[in-house]
Symmetry: C2
Subunit: 218 residues, 2 copies
């Protein structure tokens, strides 16, 4: 039997998927702005973040209303509490995309990323974007297997970050301090986006299986 | 009239204060490890983080049980949802202290921070520690005024970060890329600890007044 309550629960899941897609777009556009030194695209990522924040507020308010009015128990309660945490992860991922866009904007018309390290940063951007895209599918389909496969991409992100450090700290690094500082922070932003993606996937696994997966499993 | 339910709510607030004090200790010790290049203290910050994570799990489990069994409404519901979010902030602040300690450990026996920039980083560490200490009082006393005064310290943190960038990007910077990368990341970690402190204070204000303060107000 369907009723308004279940429709509202479904609508929260649909909103989470929408918000994840918005975040994926922000990550992708921030990386393009960064690699093409495009101030206009960077600016758009920064201003569009308000829409992501608005989606967060809408989901929070809907979840809170259901918590207060319907007094859900067991699985539904768990789902609503998870939704409140997931929007916090997603909002942070949006903020991190804004940070990437701001590095791009700060260095325009120069590209922030020296040619030698472009392939590494480009791959970081793609891995982050792919991970967020996978999260949208994981939430929509409650896909536990997909969640487990995210761990491989997260490991690639860690490797990319290590190789960016190797490049910057090598004697042959000729670009000086400023680009190194930019790269260190950009690497941190992409790494955090990946961490939040793993955290989101972990919440879906917990919702579906009732079990908390450790970092090792996921 | 007092009953077990209210005792449990009080106990969650007390646990949040305890966890905040644990985090304050972690921030303080991580800064000492960093500035004195003390591997033993750094190691202790890293291993002691498990205790902070355990406190988080205890508070989450207590809050979730109350949500599920007592079906609280209005203020109590808001408090429990806030507690679930606050432990997430506090756990991240613990993780960020671990990141500071790991930078210290990586460079031992050398200090990670060149002498010229020690005063700036030392002040960042103190501001972060003070902010976390203030948060403990704000939670314990539901102190809205204290929450508003946190904004000044957060502004000082932003200024310190800007001055660290000025030092690193000045022509006279003679320490090369590696310390600059360390300082950029350390500045980010302290800034994020401060951000989470403001976020915690904002949640207390919301609980007490029912109103969301914007970044400008807080």
């Amino acid at each position: 039997m369907r009723n308004a309550y279940f429709d509202q629960l479904d609508s929260i899941v649909a909103d989470l998927v929408t918000m994840t897609n918005e975040v994926q777009h922000a990550v992708a556009q921030a990386t393009i702005a960064l690699l093409t030194a495009d101030a206009e695209i960077a600016e758009k990522v920064i201003t569009d973040d308000a829409a992501i924040d608005a989606t967060r507020e809408r989901i929070e308010s809907e979840s809170f209303q259901l918590l207060a009015l319907q007094q859900p128990v067991a699985g539904d309660l768990r789902m609503l509490v998870a939704a409140l945490r997931m929007v916090a992860d997603l909002e942070r991922m949006g903020d991190l995309s804004v940070h990437v866009a701001k590095v791009a904007r700060l260095r325009v018309p120069q590209p922030a990323v020296p040619a030698e390290i472009v392939p590494t940063i480009e791959r970081m951007g793609h891995v982050a974007e792919e991970m967020v895209g996978q999260v949208a599918v994981i939430i929509a389909k409650r896909d536990v297997e997909g969640a487990i496969s995210l761990v491989e991409k997260d490991e690639e992100m860690d490797q990319l970050r290590r190789s960016s450090f190797r490049l910057m700290l090598d004697e042959s690094w000729s670009y000086g301090v400023e680009p190194a500082v930019d790269i260190a922070l950009l690497g941190r932003y992409y790494e955090r986006i990946a961490d939040h993606a793993v955290s989101l996937a972990r919440r879906v696994v917990y919702l579906v299986t009732g079990e908390t997966l450790s970092k090792q499993d996921l």
